[in-house]
């Protein structure tokens, strides 16, 4: 019951936060250089036409008035329409959000599976060859551009070896996607019993997941390493050694005590990937949120940008909530 009350309280704090974010983004997008009406009008429309367009887009009204109209719509679940695709923003987001979520979730799981153990080894045996290699890798992966890495993987595993399908999105063009239920192709094709689509979607996921996954191994490894190191230097670890606990036990203590900060950094990375996977999405033609918002930024498609930020904020808030809950599980000192 305490948990339910806590969750309720936390969810209530989301509301003012979201309204604040909506307001800030609303103002910020309007400060972006460039005018959406001019973009929308194309190369052959001049003064009057653009003014008329501005009017029909509602951009001639004072900004506070525009804001309240928008806020009213959002509260009714209407995120507006894209000026450029004329589609409801919500419809676009519902298709694209699961695409990105599927990609980044698998990627972060991959990164965790590799980065956390590497970080632990590097922290425990800082002088072993293995940990030197992994530290070197962490440095290397942290400094390469994800899109470049993606292109390299495409070149090796698609162009040269042809082990993986072409980087043209989530499925081959000739494969009919399963009925959208969750939006996660892997799950939807399982639900539909469509093995073809399942195998194909997994094959398409492989390289982008590898790209994002390997890139994010670096920060995860470094964070694991540094929080492990910090814990290893703490008094209670020293005392555990003074009491003759085995290396294994000491490592278990260290890991146990670093977990909260590792989980936090995982949450931060995961949250930032929603929009931060854009270059990888571009390389693999993923059609996810990152690409969507890039397009929206280029076009100054205000509602689309605002819609994206809203989704991203909600997503991050939930991640942070989740992280906090996990924190509570791991750390008995924190109370609801």
């Amino acid at each position: 019951m305490r948990i339910a009350k806590y969750l309720g309280k936390r969810l209530l704090t989301f509301i003012p936060l979201l309204i604040g974010v909506i307001l800030v983004v609303f103002v910020l997008v309007r400060l972006l250089p460039g005018d959406p009406a001019t973009r929308l009008a194309g190369n052959f429309a001049y003064g009057d036409t653009i003014a008329a367009l501005r009017e029909s887009m509602g951009l001639d009204k004072p900004i506070w008035q525009q804001f309240f109209i928008y806020l009213g719509n959002v509260l009714q679940g209407n995120l507006g329409e894209s000026w450029f695709t004329n589609k409801p923003i919500l419809d676009d987001l519902i298709v694209r959000f699961p695409a990105t979520l599927e990609l980044i979730t698998l990627s972060i799981l991959f990164s965790i599976a590799i980065g956390v153990p590497l970080g632990i080894v590097a922290a425990i045996k800082p002088k072993s060859i293995f940990s030197r290699i992994s530290t070197g890798y962490g440095f290397f992966a942290g400094s390469i551009a994800d899109f470049w890495f993606g292109l390299m993987l495409v070149f090796v595993f698609f162009t040269t070896l042809n082990w993986f399908p072409a980087p043209i999105g989530r499925l081959d063009l000739t494969i009919t996607p399963p009925l959208q239920i969750t939006g996660f192709l892997v799950i939807d094709s399982l639900l539909a019993g469509n093995w073809n689509a399942l195998m194909n979607s997994i094959a398409h996921l492989a390289l982008p997941v590898l790209t994002l996954g390997l890139i994010n191994v670096a920060p995860i490894m470094k964070m694991t390493l540094s929080s492990m190191k910090e814990v290893m230097e703490s008094d209670f670890i020293n005392h555990a050694k003074v009491l003759g606990l085995s290396d294994k036990k000491v490592m278990r203590y260290a890991l146990r005590n670093s977990l909260p900060s590792i989980v936090t950094i995982l949450g931060v990375i995961y949250g930032s990937l929603l929009g931060g996977a854009v270059l990888v999405e571009t390389v693999f033609g993923w059609g996810g949120l990152g690409q969507y918002v890039t397009q929206a930024l280029v076009n100054k498609d205000y509602s689309a940008i605002q819609g994206f930020v809203l989704v991203a904020t909600i997503f991050s808030l939930f991640i942070y909530l989740f992280v906090d809950l996990i924190y509570m599980i791991f750390d008995p000192r924190i109370k609801f």
């Binding site: 230097e233 703490s234 008094d235 209670f236 020293n238 005392h239 555990a240 050694k241 003074v242 009491l243 003759g244 606990l245 085995s246 290396d247 036990k249 203590y253 146990r256 005590n257 791991f330 750390d331 008995p332 000192r333």
Partner: protein
Amino acid sequence: MIGLKTLLQIQDLHTYFYLRKGISKVVNGLQLSVREGELLGVVGESGSGKTVTAMSVVNRVRMPGKVVKGKVIYQGQDLLKLSEEELRKYRGKEIGLIAANARGNLNPLVKVGNQIANVYLAHNKVNKKEAWEKAVEMLRMVGMNDALRRAEAYPHEMSGGMAQRVMIALALVNSPNLLIADDATNGLDVTVQSQIMDLILDIVNKQGASGILITHDLGVVAQCCSEIAIMYCGQIVEKGPVTAFFDEPKHPYSRNLLNSLPERRITQERIELKGSLSSPLSLPTGCVYQTRCPYVMDVCRKVEPSMLHVDDNYNVKCHLYQEKTENRGSANEKLA
């Protein structure tokens, strides 16, 4: 009760900290021995190197510190020559260490019962359940009423005194032959202090172990210990039976210590004397006490005094007694 066999012998111990500012010679040339069944009180100002010495005994001086020279012979075995794995057999098993600051030295995320059980498991071939039962038994032994419930608690759920009792349980769970209590009552209020002290003494007496009691409380030493050692700047400057010491302290520093407290009791956290310790970063050549000694002579500034045998089991490290050993009587006149 006191056997003749030496249990622990520290010879010419040097422990340095390699700092950016220079080499900090925290322990330099320390000589000390503890016989079987003996309870030795070690007294010194804060910063004189007591804790570092205790850590050097179990060979767990932390970076950037390092034992650079000397021997720590425990039952004929030089502990400084052992590997970590071999040392583990001594730590927590042969030598139990109670540290001050229980809060920092207990793992905040593990139940205290488990922490004790882990130390027991590390040195005994028992299963988890047996270890847990042992832990509960230890908690009972250190005077906890509802030990079963306490075992389930986390350190932050306990008072300082309770946590300190857990520290004692941790040190004693494997019935060590040598117990080192380093400022074990530091930071606790007076009644709790004496309870804890009584507890330690009680257990040591029952188990027939030897003990090193590092403390500020000369009264405790007078009451409980058979031997006393006075520490100054990483050296033992005077050592002898308690009765002889309190009858007539020999070293000018010891006299200063006793004189500064009319009731011959030091209950504060720190012993406050006029002047200050020489910085271990720049120790003077000759006697380390020369900067504060009212009887300083030319020779004190040039030659380091050696540990002089002035009586049965009584040693002083002071040039004044150089003469005395050669020409008894004159020194006492001077000191009077």
